[in-house]
Every structure is written in structure tokens, then in C-alpha cells.
């Protein structure tokens, strides 16, 4: 059988890959792709912990579903923000969006 550790290591790896995408990619849309990977890693963790540690409490799955909803909202708002930013500044490269600079 598959031990819990496999899932956890897998999730940690997926999370780290996503994090790399978020930190290293230039394009804002690509950053959002990385965020999606990280959210998926979290979900895998939640479901794995639920299945291995508390199969009688449905909390793990319920929270995974909440994360689906949050992810959907985040993508919709994020992408529309990028479109809006592109209209004004003709770019979505994260390094060039520095309105908050000192």
C-alpha cells in the first residue's frame, strides 16, 4: 500500500514547483499558473490527511471544495485584473508593474 509519506512528499514537490513558478516567471499569467499549482498541492495535502488520519470526519474534503471555489474566484478576478492592467500599461510583465515603487 501507499504510505502517507509519498503523498506528502509529492505535495511538497508540487508546492515547491509552483512556488518557483510564482517567484521566477515574468508574465503575470504564468505567475497565476504557479499559484494554481500551489493550491493543488495544498488540496492534495488536505485530502491525504483526511484519508489517512481522520476518514470519519469529512472536514478535509469540505475544505478542499472551499478551495476549489476560492481558486475559481481568484482566477477570474486575477485574469480580469491583468486584462485591465494591460489596457493601461500595455504590459503584464510583473517587473514592469511597479506603481507601488517608492
Amino acid at each position: 500500500m501507499i504510505p502517507l509519506s509519498w503523498y506528502l512528499i509529492f505535495a511538497a514537490a508540487l508546492f515547491s514547483i509552483g512556488l518557483f513558478g510564482v517567484l521566477a516567471r515574468k508574465n503575470a499569467v504564468a505567475i497565476l499558473l504557479g499559484v494554481e499549482l500551489m493550491l493543488n498541492a495544498v488540496n492534495v495535502n488536505l485530502v491525504a490527511f483526511w484519508r489517512y488520519r481522520a476518514p470519519n470526519m469529512i472536514a478535509g474534503q469540505a475544505f478542499a471544495i472551499m478551495i476549489f471555489a476560492v481558486a475559481a474566484a481568484e482566477v477570474a478576478v486575477g485574469l480580469s485584473l491583468f486584462i485591465s492592467i494591460y489596457r493601461r500599461r500595455k504590459t503584464v510583465v510583473a517587473n514592469e508593474i511597479d506603481l507601488m515603487k517608492w
Binding site: L4, A12, F20, V29, Y52, V75, Y86
Partner: protein
């Protein structure tokens, strides 16, 4: 090595590989398509974890809606660059080192935990799980409030997205 372990390893490898391609492809359309593969792998893992419903939702919501939204935005709007310049920051080594460190740290920390290698406990009735999930999501004693909040969040996000992306003449 049992068959299940073999399946797991294959799926995990495919998922991680495509995730790596998501964060490294130069073409954003490709990255979005690799994301679909990666999400599909996660869906299979949900199925391995006896969470069949989540696997279906993963396919329907993540792949069917979110990933396709990415593909559409990348292909139909001008946000993605058309040339093939590197899509990764010039100083990519710092995020790389950080990610590896984080991965190592997480695994190390988890390995110190005694439950790290627990085996899967049996569930009485796998079909009952879905019924339980369904009733708890709408039960006032359980998750109805987060559930309703999530729906409010989705509506707000939808309105906000339309408002933000609206092209004002």
C-alpha cells in the same frame, strides 16, 4: 511494489514533470496545456485517495473551467507575448534555491513527525462518504456557512471580474 504503488509513482512523476513544464515553457499556451495535464494527474491521485467526487470536481472545475479560462485568456487576449523570449526571470536561481530549500525543509520536518509513514485505514463504506459530504455541506451544524460564503464569494468575484475587465468607451 504493488500495482497501486506503481500507478501512484507513474502518476506522480507525470504530474510533477508537467508541473515543471508549466513553470518553464516559453510559450504560455503550452504552459496552460501542461497545467491541464498536471491537474489531471492530481485528479487521479484524488481517486486513489477514495475521494472520487473530488476527482470529478477537479476535472470539471479545475480543468473544465479554470484551465480553459487560462487557455482562452492567453490565446484571445494580448496579455501573452507573441515572441519566444525567455519567460523566466534573469535571476531565476534565487527562487530556484528557495524552492529547493523549502522542499527539503518541508520533507525533513514531516519526516520528524511520527505519523509520516502511516498506512491507510479502512473506510466502512466508501459510498457513504459522498452522502456524508453532501449532507454536511448544507447542514447548519456543519459547513453551511462556509458553503454559502463561498457562493457569495463567487458571485462577488464574477461581478468584480466583469467590472474590472469592462472596456469603458
Amino acid at each position: 511494489m504493488t500495482l497501486l504503488q506503481f500507478v501512484f509513482l507513474v502518476i506522480a512523476a507525470v504530474t510533477l514533470l508537467s508541473a515543471a513544464l508549466v513553470v518553464s515553457s516559453r510559450n504560455l499556451v503550452h504552459a496552460a496545456l501542461w497545467l491541464i495535464v498536471s491537474l489531471f494527474g492530481v485528479a487521479v491521485l484524488y481517486a486513489l485517495l477514495d475521494a472520487g467526487f473530488l476527482a470529478v470536481v477537479q476535472v470539471v472545475v479545475y480543468i473544465g473551467a479554470i484551465a480553459i479560462l487560462f487557455v482562452l485568456v492567453v490565446m484571445l487576449s494580448p496579455v501573452a507575448p507573441k515572441d519566444n523570449r525567455s519567460q523566466v526571470d534573469a535571476r531565476w536561481w534565487l527562487p530556484g534555491v528557495l524552492s529547493v530549500l523549502l522542499f527539503g525543509g518541508l520533507v525533513w520536518m514531516l519526516s520528524l513527525w511520527q505519523g509520516f509513514t502511516s498506512e491507510v485505514p479502512p473506510v466502512a463504506d466508501a459510498n457513504q462518504l459522498l452522502v456524508q459530504l453532501g449532507s454536511e455541506l448544507v447542514s447548519p451544524n456543519a459547513y453551511v456557512l462556509p458553503f454559502e460564503l463561498a457562493s457569495v464569494l463567487l458571485v462577488a468575484a464574477m461581478i468584480g471580474a466583469i467590472w474590472v475587465a469592462w472596456e469603458r468607451k
